[in-house]
C-alpha cells in the first residue's frame, strides 16, 4: 500500500513536470504568434497575453510538484552542518509538516476561490473573456498535488528515521 502510494506520487511528479514543460513550450509558440500578429499583420491582440499568463501560473503551481520531487526548491541548509543525521531527518520531517500545513491552507482557500468563480460564472471581463475558474483551478490542483507529494516525503523521511 505504502509502496504503491509512493510510486503513484512519483508518477504524478513526473506528469506535473511534463505538463510544466509543455506549458512553457506552448508559451514560446504563442508569444511568437503574438509578435507576428501585432507587428507584421498589425492586428489587435485578443487572447494571447491572457493565455500565456494562465500557462505561466499553471506551470508554476503544477511544475512545483516536480521541482519538489527533484529537491530543487532553494533553501538554507546551513544548519544541517551542525546536526546529527538523525536530527537532520527529524528537522526535515518538521519543516515538511510546516510546508504541508501551508499547502493545506492554500488548497482550502484556493478551492473557495475556484468554487465561487465556478458557481457564479465569473470571467476575466476582457475581450477574450475566458471563465476565471480555469486559472484559479491551477492553484487548487497544484496545492492538492503538493499535499500528496509532501505526505510522500514525510513517509519517506519517517522510514529513514526508523531505519537509522
Amino acid at each position: 500500500m505504502k509502496k504503491k502510494y509512493l510510486q503513484f506520487c512519483d508518477l504524478i511528479a513526473k506528469a506535473c513536470g511534463a505538463f510544466a514543460v509543455l506549458a512553457l513550450l506552448l508559451s514560446i509558440l504563442v508569444i511568437v504568434e503574438l509578435v507576428f500578429e501585432r507587428y507584421f499583420f498589425q492586428r489587435a491582440i485578443t487572447w494571447q497575453t491572457e493565455l500565456v499568463t494562465m500557462l505561466l501560473v499553471a506551470s508554476t503551481f503544477i511544475g512545483s510538484v516536480y521541482v519538489l520531487s527533484e529537491k530543487a526548491h532553494v533553501s538554507m541548509e546551513w544548519i544541517y552542518d551542525f546536526l546529527s543525521k538523525k536530527n537532520i531527518i527529524r528537522l526535515k520531517i518538521f519543516t515538511s509538516s510546516i510546508s504541508l500545513l501551508f499547502f493545506l491552507i492554500l488548497f482550502y482557500f484556493g478551492f473557495i476561490m475556484f468554487e465561487e468563480a465556478f458557481t457564479k460564472n465569473y470571467s476575466t471581463g476582457t475581450v477574450w473573456d475566458p471563465p476565471l475558474w480555469i486559472p484559479y483551478s491551477s492553484m487548487m490542483i497544484g496545492a492538492l498535488l503538493m499535499i500528496l507529494q509532501y505526505i510522500a516525503e514525510i513517509i519517506k523521511l519517517t522510514d529513514e528515521e526508523d531505519f537509522k
Binding site: 510544466a20 500565456v52 503551481f61 516536480y66 532553494v74 510546516i98
Partner: protein
C-alpha cells in the same frame, strides 16, 4: 503594538523559520500566514489566496522563464564552449589571459541569460578545469567564475532587474540600459584584478603563460561564424527592448525561440529529447524563482497590512539628516538581507519600504536599482545562501568551499568598490539611458 516592534518580531521569526532548512518560498508563505492570523485574525485568510495568486498573474513575469530558456539553451549547447575558446584564442597574449577570457565569457553569456547561477554553470564547467589545468591556483580559478557569474544579473537581460521593475513600477527597458555600462565596468574591474593577481601574486599563472602555444589566425577566425549569430540575437533582443518596439515578455519569447532555431541550425540540436531536457532544466529554475516571487509578494502584503512597511520607511528617513548616512545603512541592510535570501525575494519584500525612502532622499530610483543589484551580487557569493558558491562546488567537488570563498573575497571587495564609484559618479548608470531614451522625468 508599535509597528517597529512588530518589525523586529517579523525579522527574528522569519530568520528562524528560514534557518530550519525549509524551502525559502514555502517558509516565507508560512511566516506570512502565521503573522496575518496572529495580528489580524483569521478573517485575513480570505484574501491570502487571492494575494498569492495575484503575485504570479502577470504577463511581464513571463520574461523570466523566457530569459532563463535563452540562457539554458545556449548553456546546454556547444555555444558556451565556442564562446569560451573564441575569447581565449583572441586574448592569448594578455597576461592572466585565460582568467580574463573567463570573465569576458561570463559577461557575454550574462547578456544571453538573466541569471547568475546559469552563467556560473555554463562558463564554469569549461573554464574552471581549463584554468586549473594550465596552472592557475584553485582560488583564482573558482573565484573568477563565482564573481563572473554574478554579472548575469547586472548585464541585461537580468531577472533581478525585471523583478525590480515590476515591484517598483519602473521601466524594465530603462533598467536594462542602466545596467549595461556598470556591468561592463565591473567586468573590467574584475579583469584588472586578474591582471594584478597574475603579475604580482600568483607566480604559477605567469609560468602558465609561458607554456602557451600561439593560436593561428585560422584558429582565431574559425570560431567566429558559430559565435556571431548568438551575438546577433543579443543585439536584436536589446534593440527591440530599448527601441520600445516590443515589451520584455515579447522580446524574451522571440529571443528564446530564435536561440532554439540557432542551436538547431549551428549545432544540430533539434532532437525532441534534447529540447525537452533543456526546457525541463529551465522550468525547474523558473518555477523555483516564480514561487519565491509569489511568496515574497504575500510577505510584502503582510508587512504592509501590519503597517511595518510604512513605519520602517518613515523611521529610516528620520534616521539621520544626512542622506548618505541613511544610504550607507540601506546598503548594509541589503547586504545582510542578500546573505540570507535570494535576490528576487529581497527585491519584492523590501522595495515597498526602500523606494519611498530613496525618492524622498532625492536619489534616482534607476541608479538605486543598479546599486541594489550589485549588493545582491555580493550576496550570491557569500554563505549561507551564496548560490554561486554551491554551483562551483558542484563543478569542482575537490576544491573546498572555504577555498572557493577565499578566491571570491577580492571580488566582493571590488564590487563594494564599484558601489562607491557609482555613488561618486552616478552618470555611469544614467548616461546611457539618458542618451538613448531621454531624461527620466520621474513617475
Amino acid at each position: 503594538m508599535d509597528p517597529l516592534i512588530i518589525a523586529l518580531i517579523v525579522a527574528v521569526f522569519t530568520l528562524l523559520v528560514l534557518f530550519s532548512g525549509i524551502p525559502i518560498a514555502f517558509g516565507l508563505s508560512f511566516v506570512s500566514i502565521a503573522l496575518l492570523v496572529t495580528f489580524e485574525g483569521f478573517q485575513m485568510l480570505d484574501v491570502f489566496a487571492e494575494t498569492f495568486f495575484a503575485g504570479l498573474n502577470s504577463f511581464v513575469l513571463l520574461s523570466i522563464p523566457m530569459f532563463i530558456l535563452m540562457g539554458m539553451a545556449v548553456a546546454n549547447s556547444p555555444a558556451g564552449k565556442d564562446l569560451y575558446t573564441g575569447l581565449d584564442r583572441w586574448l592569448w597574449r594578455v597576461p592572466g589571459g585565460l582568467v580574463i577570457s573567463n570573465i569576458g565569457a561570463c559577461s557575454i553569456f550574462a547578456a544571453l541569460s538573466g541569471s547568475s547561477p546559469a552563467t556560473c554553470a555554463a562558463i564554469g564547467t569549461m573554464g574552471i578545469p581549463e584554468m586549473r589545468k594550465r596552472g592557475y591556483s584553485d582560488q583564482i580559478a573558482t573565484g573568477t567564475i563565482a564573481a563572473g557569474g554574478t554579472l548575469g544579473v547586472l548585464i541585461p537581460p537580468s531577472i533581478v532587474l525585471i523583478v525590480y521593475g515590476i515591484a517598483t513600477g519602473t521601466s524594465i527597458g530603462r533598467l536594462f540600459l542602466c545596467g549595461l555600462v556598470p556591468g561592463f565596468m565591473l567586468a573590467g574591474m574584475f579583469a584588472i584584478w586578474a591582471l594584478i593577481h597574475s603579475y604580482f601574486i600568483d607566480k604559477d599563472a605567469a609560468k602558465a603563460l609561458r607554456n602557451r602555444v600561439r593560436p593561428t589566425l585560422k584558429e582565431k577566425l574559425e570560431v567566429l561564424p558559430r559565435i556571431l549569430p548568438f551575438l546577433a540575437i543579443i543585439a536584436g533582443v536589446l534593440y527591440v527592448l530599448y527601441g520600445g518596439v516590443a515589451t520584455p515578455s515579447e522580446a524574451s519569447g522571440v529571443g528564446a525561440f530564435l536561440v532554439f532555431v540557432l542551436i538547431a541550425l549551428v549545432y544540430k540540436i533539434y532532437q525532441p529529447k534534447k529540447i525537452w531536457n533543456i526546457v525541463k532544466v529551465s522550468m525547474k529554475e523558473s518555477v523555483m524563482i516564480m514561487f519565491i516571487i509569489a511568496a515574497s509578494y504575500l510577505f510584502a502584503f503582510t508587512l504592509s497590512q501590519l503597517y511595518v512597511t510604512q513605519s520602517l520607511a518613515q523611521s529610516m528617513v528620520e534616521l539621520s539628516s544626512n542622506k548618505w548616512v541613511v544610504f550607507i545603512l540601506i546598503n548594509i541592510f541589503l547586504l545582510i538581507a542578500g546573505f540570507f535570501l535570494p535576490p528576487v525575494a529581497v527585491i519584492v519584500m523590501t522595495s515597498a519600504i526602500l523606494l519611498p525612502v530613496i525618492t524622498t532622499l532625492g536619489f534616482d530610483p534607476y541608479w538605486f536599482a543598479i546599486v541594489f543589484t550589485i549588493n545582491m551580487e555580493i550576496g550570491l557569493i557569500t554563505p549561507p545562501v551564496g548560490l554561486n558558491l554551491y554551483i562551483i562546488k558542484g563543478i569542482t567537488p575537490d576544491v573546498s568551499l572555504s577555498e572557493i570563498l577565499k578566491g571570491s573575497i577580492p571580488f566582493m571587495i571590488i564590487m563594494a568598490l564599484a558601489i562607491v564609484i557609482l555613488c561618486i559618479f552616478p552618470e555611469i548608470v544614467t548616461w546611457l539611458p539618458d542618451k538613448i531614451m531621454g531624461k527620466d522625468l520621474g513617475f
